[in-house]
């Protein structure tokens, strides 16, 4: 099977390792991965901030970049949700991309039909379900099922898991104090679990939470789910 990787602008520029992990994981599962270089950004930050006109060219570009692919896979629930929920309002061509875009865990569980991806990750992990994956995509327990099947991994419950971490795209910039207060509560909950790793499936949320953890010097790292699933005994996560 051949899929197009929709790496997303944040992963491309700031978290390339997540893109690399996604490629390694998919290839390990026998999937052939393409990276259409014409892709840049799905337009979500612009759209959510109220700039529809400025979003339109990015929507057109994204749709063109993934033309002809039956499966477009992305390690971001938020960007998948943008395409799935908002592209239709940009016309028929954009609407056509929506059902072909799959968030990584959806693709693994629903399309490939696997939950045990042969990963090895000997750490105590707690999982934060990002809002868009949780509510807009309805990822449900897919990420947890994948994590539970990872060898060596101990999954611990995150209190208040379904509460927003406070990132919210430009919200973090426009309402920095509220955003930081939300992030602080998320971190306190995560630290209370005694986990070494806070796992999420959206690097934008992890950028915010991880940035706060790092500022506090907390003994907890924010790690993308793809990095965990790509990790094996032979090639462990650094």
């Amino acid at each position: 099977m051949r899929v197009a990787l929709f790496v997303t602008c944040v992963n491309d520029a700031v978290f390339p390792a997540t893109g690399v992990a996604t490629v390694r994981l998919l290839e390990r599962l026998g999937v052939e991965v393409d990276f259409p270089a014409a892709q840049t950004c799905c337009g979500q930050p612009q759209f959510n901030t109220g700039y529809r006109a400025e979003t339109a060219p990015l929507v057109r570009r994204t749709v063109r970049a993934f033309e002809g692919y039956e499966y477009v896979v992305t390690p971001s629930g938020s960007c998948a949700a943008m395409v799935r929920h908002h592209y239709a309002s940009f016309g028929a061509a954009a609407a056509g991309l929506a059902p072909r875009v799959h968030e990584l865990t959806e693709f693994l569980v629903d399309v490939l039909g696997v939950t045990d991806v042969g990963a090895y990750f000997p750490h105590r992990v707690t999982y934060h379900p990002s809002c868009h994956g949780l509510r807009l995509l309805g990822l449900g327990d897919r990420p947890r099922r994948l994590l539970e099947a990872v060898k060596g991994l101990e999954l611990v419950e995150l209190p208040g898991a379904e509460e927003c971490c406070g990132f919210g795209g430009t919200f973090a910039v426009k309402n920095p104090d509220v955003s930081a207060a939300m992030g602080a509560d998320k971190i306190a909950n995560a630290l209370s679990t005694g986990a070494e790793v806070l796992c999420g499936a959206d690097n934008s949320c992890l950028l915010h939470v991880g940035g706060m953890l790092s500022r506090q010097g907390a003994p907890l790292s924010a790690v993308h789910l793809a990095d965990i699933l790509a990790s094996t005994e032979e090639e462990p996560w650094q």
Partner: protein, 467 residues
């Protein structure tokens, strides 16, 4: 009133307030979830509520005229008010005509929206709130901070102090040695209010629903104070937003299930009062209905925004909102706080003021509000829609922002330019600061470290390793 981010800062810095809000919202949100889970047809009820409201709003003129006819036939009088000033004037004249200088009030968002109490006070008429939480707010010379629990930001010790200090100047003082146990606080309020119920000749209320086919008004409440105000006075004046009409009695069946569970997590609210015009020897002998527009028909004209008019003011969206939980109700600068306030207020008042223009951005778009809303108002959708409006008006900061977004979109629409920018960023990454300059960005990096930029972006890795 400052913009939302500034107004929120005060609440965030107040640990007592934050603890009060956190405790109250978490308690009620958990209870609501349990009460809702008891019904296996919740999804259908939610859908039905949405459709009833939508259909009514589509034919609002028809139902309002039908309502007016029915109310009039039942012995009531209908008044139409385009805005707050007109509604206040009508109510004042109606009270004056009775010769009274005091009124008792049933908790009502509509009368708060128009500032009726303040207006009456300026006209020499005392308006007494009779809902316990409203009483606390009124005595404390405070503003409500929640739709359903206006004193949500107060704890019991604060309430006891307010009762001790202020009750005396409004009527019967608090009993000697009042403690902060719920039973004693409730008893103090009961004694204080009973005097007012028995004395008042005029009652003022809002309504949760108005039934077009019979001209019946409905108030649901938990304390029984509403029932007293609706039945004891000689004159009853109800001020109600035009969107509260429903076609028939059968429609109530849906809302009387969804409203109490969503708001107080009760299977049924303790008091449901319904009144239709006037009757000899039973209830008030004069009944006036003031139908309030105050920006509602403007919202109705907006195809995306009009869904806010479906709201039944249950406040479930406030209780689950992570932003409301931290910022508190006062930061929203309106009687409608929380997610519903963020979409309703800018539609009713417009987006000219700084606070109104900031409200559509007072959300992380997490979607928790939409999930709990019993009439399925897609609040995130309306927020983004209103952001478009605010951004296109180009108010404070938005012109600059649009220019930046345009420039970014230009780059993002050109992968070569994007790659060049990424290369430059990677090549100079040793020079990148851990903290950012500039408004917003500076505050952002006050609380967070920026990640180290990678040596190469993903597209370079791909080029080297896979092509």
């Amino acid at each position: 009133m400052p913009a939302f981010p500034e107004a929120a800062r005060a609440a965030i810095g107040d640990p007592t307030l934050r603890a009060n809000l956190r405790h109250a919202t978490h308690t009620i949100r958990d209870k609501r979830a349990r009460a809702v889970a008891e019904l296996d047809d919740w999804a259908e009820l939610r859908q039905a509520g949405k459709e009833i409201k939508d259909r009514t709003l589509r034919h609002l003129d028809t139902y309002l005229l039908q309502l007016e006819e029915a109310v009039t036939a039942a012995g009531g009088t209908v008044h139409w008010a385009t805005d707050a000033a007109e509604a206040n004037r009508i109510v004042t004249e109606l009270v004056r005509a009775t010769g009274e200088t005091e009124v008792v009030k049933v908790k009502s968002m509509a009368t708060q929206e128009i500032g009726l109490n303040e207006h009456l006070e300026a006209e020499g008429i005392a308006a007494y709130e009779t809902d316990l939480a409203e009483l606390i707010v009124q005595l404390g010379e405070d503003r409500p901070s929640h739709i359903l629990v206006p004193a949500i930001h107060r704890n019991r010790a604060e309430i006891r102090d307010i009762f001790r200090e202020k009750m005396g100047s409004w009527g019967r003082p608090a009993p000697e040695g009042l403690s902060d146990t719920p039973a004693e606080l409730a008893e103090a309020a009961r004694l204080h209010l009973r005097e007012k119920f028995l004395r008042a000749k005029v009652g003022i209320s809002g309504a949760n629903f108005m039934v077009a086919e019979t001209g019946t008004l409905v108030v649901v409440e938990s304390e029984g104070n509403g029932r007293m105000c609706l039945t004891l006075p000689e004159t009853l004046i109800s001020v109600v937003g035009v969107e509260k009409v429903v076609p028939g009695w059968r429609d109530l069946e849906v809302f009387l299930q969804t409203l109490p569970r969503s708001s107080t997590a009760e299977r049924m609210n303790p008091y449901t009062s319904m009144w239709t015009g006037t009757r000899d020897d039973d209830g008030p002998s004069a009944f006036h209905l003031v139908l309030l527009d105050n920006g509602r028909t403007g919202a109705l004209a907006d195809e995306v925004g009009r869904q806010a008019l479906r709201c039944i003011r249950c406040s479930a969206c406030l209780n689950v909102c992570p932003v409301y939980e931290r910022a508190g109700g006062h930061a929203y600068g309106s009687v409608y706080p929380g997610p519903i306030g963020a979409i309703l207020t800018p539609q009713l008042r417009g987006t000219a003021s700084e606070v109104d223009a900031s409200l559509p951005y007072a959300s992380s778009l997490c979607g928790a509000c939409y999930e709990v809303c019993p009439v399925a108002i897609d609040i995130p959708e309306v927020l983004v829609h209103l952001r478009e409006r605010v951004a296109s008006e180009g108010g404070k900061g938005h012109r600059l922002e649009r220019a930046a977004v345009k420039a970014a979109s230009w780059v993002l629409d050109r992968p070569a330019a994007l790659a060049a920018g990424q290369h430059l960023a990677s090549a100079t990454r040793a020079l990148h600061p851990k903290r950012l300059p500039g408004p917003g960005a500076r505050q952002w990096s006050e609380h967070r470290n920026l990640p180290e930029l990678p040596a190469e972006p993903f597209r370079d890795w791909w080029k080297k390793n896979r092509t």
